[in-house]
Symmetry: C2
């Protein structure tokens, strides 16, 4: 199992490619077969499978094969992890702005 | 200027590296010089500069040189853009769960 930093590496790496983001966008609307995922993408099925492997390795997508059909599903906890790191950074930034605002208000009181 | 998909590529690519995330975490707490950014990182200054260039190219960080000191600042709009794509995906996913819940409730009404 990857540690948290390693998992963030592979999550953001997986998302840093337009075709893989299109696949994720499709899967947030519900499960899909590989050929459904491939439909909007202008690439070979083997290229799609390679992107799918990157998504699976990152934990963003799970796949399951029944007979000849591989069904792909989004893994919401992985999406959430990628979002949470970013919202934590925004939180830090906003806290800093608040402190700055407080400081400026206080300075205004002192001098005004 | 990068189009939105190209910018998301380079944002997530920039974030897919632990040292760059540490630099972003530091900068959300306020501006810093390159040597301040380098302090917690176990790497050469030239490696730090390379990571900084990736962050700058992605739009996540702006730098400004005054005399011999380069000051680095976070660019909150870029952080927000990376977060928004992810929260849009979560939104789609949650909407789907709601629809599924409605459907199951309706089916329960019909048969119960």
């Amino acid at each position: 199992m990857l540690n948290q930093s390693g998992q963030l590496d592979s999550l953001y790496q997986a998302l840093a490619e337009p075709a893989r983001r299109i696949m994720v966008e499709r899967l947030t609307r519900g499960p899909a077969s590989v050929s459904e995922l491939a439909k909007p993408l202008d690439m070979s099925l083997s290229a799609v499978m390679q992107h799918l492997q990157v998504l699976e390795a990152s934990g963003l997508v799970r796949t399951e094969k029944t007979g000849r059909v591989r069904t792909c599903r989004i893994e919401p906890s992985a999406l959430r992890m990628a979002e949470e790191w970013l919202s934590a950074q925004r939180g830090m930034w906003e806290k800093r702005l608040d402190r700055l605002g407080d400081y400026l208000a206080k300075t205004g009181d002192d001098t005004g």
